[in-house]
Symmetry: C2
Subunit: 372 residues, 2 copies
């Protein structure tokens, strides 16, 4: 017998319409074939999706739990995501709420290499929230970015990433930037005795990503930033799985927001930024925090945090990395939502707080430490 | 001076809000930095996006034409798409309507290797609409799929693709399926004297896609099917650009629908299925036709067809391949929308028309030929 995994969908419509849609999902995500022509036996009994539960989920919304044979996924991330949401992404009123893999299917994916615990061990930060910032603005030279990285590390920031728009532009070419920023952070670490890391952006053309990641590893980078909406999720998964690279991976949400902007369509914050990012190997998941310049609500952000830690049969947890227009002053409130299991990403806010960037970083760090 | 390309956005809101959003796009898509802190000189004058035009586009909607320095894209498809729609994908009320590259920037991308004309030449079909179908349902063996491929080719179908859910499942493993289907279509071609092609699905894990594509080429496949929503757009671009492979590429819309389901967010049908698929190398673009089981309107489909052919400084045109629950009987009406520059994709409908699949294909073909 084929083992079955489950996907929880939220469907918009009255009971009859929603049930029809649920039956449609069963066909659309597997055989894409007229129901009356589906061959009996294996295909009818196992390959076609199956409605396991169906119940009301508030006015004009229903929740359908649909199971699929694990074999339909070919045990590949690309095809797993296709079964979960491929064709129905083009239909309205279907939203992926939650993914429930079987232990065997989850075992086909390594997930985050480090996870929350591994990242804490690696960075030598056993309990407090971590501090994360970005090198910007685009247009600075590699040397200017490295100087910023030095200041951030000197001021006590733990993780210093490229802004995700920094790729291989002429004004700060990838190789020069990575070398200089690695050196700058090492210099600061020697002076402070801390273990700050530099995380370059390796969102890049298909044929260059692996080489950029290896270059980063050799130069002494402490992690990799990838925007899976731009590269594809499986590219991030492959980087996370690469034993020669062996670096923590941070996902960036660029180009992926369309999956969550409509409340009745797409994928839930919990599943997309929690479960799917973990399946694709992210140790840390960057997303826009509530109250910043983006539109996620406090509840949605809390769901993301849940999704980064929900039990997934041995797939490690990831750190939520809320950011995006946060100010330093929002940290105390965020601690009430996320607790200590969070990486605070402050970008522009670090420049805004006062004229001395090192002092701003120290203030940011002190705010976090004061709460401990 | 840096050359600038343009993106046309449709923004939701009253005039003041929409203009504020347009200014925000200029920062968000480039420097991600507080406006008042952006350094003067190069960054302020060139790197930050610039509003070139701003005007009403109907009640509570405005159109903003924003220009960006070509250098911000690093001349990479991943970063180009990031500048166009990376961070603002997470905000609501911004929609990419149209992309206007400069000749030099367009020249950084090869686009479709064959385009409409090249595909017609390759398949020996100078003028009429082409006929396209899919091997399904998932769960059939490689031998059963090959037998179907033989029947489709015998009945006069021009392009026979894998259903996009066929990857490397145990019931029809990739290598066996591709070999058998290639052989079956060759056998039919010898008998009919036609030039039908088999197009396997190479949507696959990052490390395996190139090998699967090369295997397909060696086995005699006539094209490749890729779902860029699952693999990443740049993976499709790399396959299209690979001179050793040199096969036509067909894009599948799985997992990409979320960009178009909300009328005020995401990307227009014209830009996503027309312009972006071409930049990413698709010779043929599969999408759901109006009137089938998906929700695209007739106008949206006509815009897709426009986007597949709009002038893009030497980037070849692609064939619109409308499908998805179409029936054979919808063809005459579709000809009035698409004219002859179309590939008709009929899947389940070919099985539904009558019990003899070869006869159904002949009927499908005759309908198309009758119109010529």
């Amino acid at each position: 017998m084929m083992e079955r995994f489950q996907v929880v969908y939220r469907i918009t419509g009255d009971e009859k319409d929603a049930y029809t849609k649920a039956k449609d999902i069963c066909l659309e995500q597997t055989v894409e074939f007229p129901a009356e022509l589906v061959p009996g036996g294996l295909i009818q009994d196992h390959i076609v999706g199956r409605i396991e539960e169906f119940h009301s989920d508030g006015p004009d919304h229903y929740q359908a739990v649909i199971s699929y044979a694990a074999e339909t996924t070919a045990f590949e991330l690309t095809q797993l995501f296709n079964v979960i949401f491929g064709n129905i992404s083009i239909k309205t009123g279907n939203r992926v709420e939650k993914i429930e893999l079987t232990p065997a299917l989850a075992g086909c994916f390594h997930g985050p290499r480090f996870g929350r615990e591994g990242l804490r061990t690696r960075l030598g930060i056993p309990a407090r929230p971590m501090l994360f910032t970005a090198l910007k603005p685009m247009g600075l030279t590699a040397l200017e970015l490295a100087e910023l990285a030095y200041k951030f590390a000197t001021g006590g920031i733990d993780i210093i990433k490229d802004d995700h728009g920094l790729s291989n532009q002429g004004f700060a070419g990838y190789h020069e930037r990575v070398e200089q920023c690695c050196r700058a952070v090492e210099r600061a670490n020697r002076e402070t005795g801390q273990r700050a890391v530099y995380v370059p952006n390796v969102t890049a053309p298909y044929g260059e990503i692996a080489a950029r990641a290896r270059f980063a590893k050799e130069a002494g980078a402490g992690g990799l930033l990838v925007a899976p909406g731009l590269t594809g999720f499986d590219v991030m998964r492959a980087l996370a799985d690469d034993d020669e690279i062996g670096l923590p991976v941070f996902s960036h949400p660029a180009f992926i927001g369309s999956y969550v902007v409509s409340p009745d369509d797409g994928i839930s914050h919990f599943a997309l930024f929690g479960q799917m990012m973990r399946l694709a190997g992210a140790d840390g998941v960057v997303y826009p925090n509530y109250g910043g310049r983006f539109s996620f609500s406090r509840a949605e952000c809390a769901h993301i945090a849940e999704g980064t830690a929900v039990s997934m049969h041995g797939i490690k947890s990831a750190f939520p990395c809320p950011g995006g227009g946060m100010s330093i002053d929002s940290i105390p409130d965020m601690l009430t939502v996320y607790g200590n299991e969070v990486v605070f990403l402050v970008g522009g806010g670090l420049f805004r707080h006062g004229p001395d960037i090192v002092e701003n970083c120290r203030y940011f760090r002190s705010l976090v430490e004061k709460t401990q």
